[in-house]
C-alpha cells in the first residue's frame, strides 16, 4: 500500500465562484488515519481555506458525515486504507443545500426534528404520580423496545442515502421518524397521539416507499427503515380502530 493517497475534495466558495469544483490534495496514509485525519492534514498543512464540520472524532457527535466515493459515511469512522491506492472523492452530504465546501445546511432537518417532539411527553399534571413515589422504573424488556432508536446521533447519513428525501424535501425523513419512535415506544411517554398527527401525514411515514438505504448506511445500526414500516402498521391500525370504534369503545 502506498504511503500517500489523493483526496479529491469538492469545493464550493460562493463568494468567489458560483459553481463547485474539485481540488486534489496529496496526504499521508498511515494505517490508523481516517478520512477526517486526511482533511485535518489538508486544513493544517496544505490549505487553510477548506471548510468542513467535525468535533468528537469518535462517532458520537454526528458532525463529520460526508459522501465518500459516493457513499454517505462518517469520516471519523472511515479509514483511508479502505480505499487502497485511491483516489478518494470527498463531497458534501447529498440532498442538502451546500453552504460552503463540505458544509451543508441542516436547518430543514432540525425544524422537522422538533415537530415530532423528540422528548418524553408527560400526561397532564393531575395524572402525574407524586415525587415521593420515586422514579419511573423500566424493565430491561421495556428499555429494549426503544433502545435501538435512541442510538441515533443525528448525523443525517440516512437523509443523504434517501432518494425520497432528495425528490421530495417535504418528507420528514428517516432519522426524525426513528427518533419519534424512540419516544413512542418509551413506557414513560404519553405523547404518541400528538406525534401521530405529524407522522401520519403524507409527508410523514407514507412518503416512505421503503428503499431501505437509510438502514444500510446508518453507522449506529438504528434501522430507521424498520421504524417507519412499524409505524405504518401502528398508524393503519389506529385509523381502522377510529373507523370501527369512533368513540373509543
Amino acid at each position: 500500500m502506498s504511503d500517500r493517497i489523493t483526496l479529491q475534495v469538492a469545493r464550493y466558495r460562493p463568494e468567489k465562484a458560483s459553481e463547485p469544483f474539485v481540488q486534489s490534495y496529496d496526504v499521508p496514509c498511515p494505517r490508523d488515519w481516517v478520512i477526517l485525519d486526511g482533511l485535518n492534514y489538508v486544513k493544517d498543512r496544505l490549505d487553510g481555506t477548506l471548510s468542513y464540520r467535525w468535533s468528537c472524532r469518535m462517532g458520537i457527535c454526528g458532525s463529520c458525515g460526508m459522501m465518500v466515493n459516493g457513499e454517505p459515511k462518517l469520516t471519523c469512522a472511515t479509514f483511508l486504507s479502505e480505499y487502497g491506492s485511491g483516489p478518494i472523492r470527498v463531497e458534501p452530504l447529498r440532498n442538502f443545500p451546500v453552504i460552503r465546501d463540505l458544509i451543508v445546511d441542516i436547518g430543514d432537518f432540525m425544524r422537522k426534528l422538533v415537530k415530532v417532539k423528540p422528548w418524553i411527553v408527560r400526561p397532564p399534571t393531575e395524572d402525574e404520580r407524586p415525587i415521593s413515589d420515586g422514579e419511573y422504573r423500566q424493565t430491561p424488556q421495556e428499555l429494549d423496545e426503544f433502545k435501538q432508536f435512541s442510538m441515533c446521533i443525528n448525523c443525517m447519513l440516512c437523509y443523504a442515502a434517501c432518494p425520497i428525501y432528495g425528490l421530495d424535501p417535504n418528507f420528514i425523513g428517516p432519522a426524525a421518524i426513528a427518533l419519534a419512535q424512540r419516544y413512542n415506544l418509551d413506557s414513560r411517554d404519553a405523547g404518541s397521539g400528538e406525534r401521530m398527527e405529524i407522522l401520519s401525514e403524507h409527508e410523514g411515514i407514507w412518503g416512505c416507499t421503503f428503499v431501505g438505504e437509510c438502514t444500510k448506511v446508518c453507522p449506529k445500526h438504528v434501522d430507521p427503515a424498520g421504524a417507519i414500516q412499524r409505524y405504518k402498521l401502528t398508524s393503519a391500525l389506529a385509523t381502522m380502530k377510529s373507523f370501527f370504534a369512533p368513540r373509543g369503545a
Binding site: 451546500v98 432518494p163 416507499t209 431501505g212
Partner: protein, 137 residues
C-alpha cells in the same frame, strides 16, 4: 413543510444540486428498488388477467374457448412469463423485508427476523403446494 430561506450579504447563495432523472441507475440497490416498484404493474396485470378469466368462464364455453385462444397468443404468453418473473421478485423482496416491518414477541422475547421471513416462505410453499394438489392431485 420546508421553511423559506433568505440570503444576505453575509450569507451568500447556497448550492442546491438537483437530483438527476437517472438517480436510480447510480446504485444497484436503487435499481432493485425501482424494479420492485415496477413489479406492481405486473401484479396489476395478473389480477386483470384472472378477472378476465373468471368473466370468460361465467359467459360460457365459447367465451372460455376464445379466452384460452387469446391467452395462447405470443404477446400474452410473453407478458405472462415476464409477469411471473416480476411477481416472484416482488414476493421474494417483500418476504425478505418483512422482518423490518414486523416485531413479534413470543414469551416476552423478540422473534429473530429470520424466523419472520422464514414463516413467509413457509406460507408461500404451503399455498403453492395446496394449489398444486387441487390442480393435479
Amino acid at each position: 413543510m420546508a421553511a423559506p430561506f433568505h440570503y444576505t450579504d453575509y450569507h451568500p447563495q447556497w448550492l442546491r444540486p438537483k437530483m438527476s432523472t437517472y438517480w436510480w441507475l447510480t446504485r444497484r440497490s436503487y435499481v432493485a428498488f425501482i424494479a420492485r416498484e415496477i413489479s406492481s404493474v405486473f401484479i396489476g396485470w395478473a389480477v386483470a388477467f384472472l378477472l378476465l378469466l373468471v368473466r370468460a368462464i361465467g359467459q360460457g364455453a365459447d367465451a372460455y374457448g376464445q379466452f384460452l385462444a387469446w391467452a395462447a397468443t405470443t404477446p400474452v404468453l410473453v407478458m405472462n412469463v415476464v409477469s411471473l418473473l416480476f411477481i416472484v421478485f416482488h414476493a421474494v423482496t417483500w418476504f425478505n423485508l418483512a422482518p423490518a416491518a414486523l416485531v413479534v414477541h413470543v414469551g416476552g422475547r423478540k422473534l429473530p427476523g429470520i424466523l419472520i421471513a422464514a414463516s413467509n416462505y413457509a406460507a408461500f410453499v404451503f399455498a403453492s403446494a395446496l394449489i398444486a394438489w387441487l390442480l393435479f392431485g
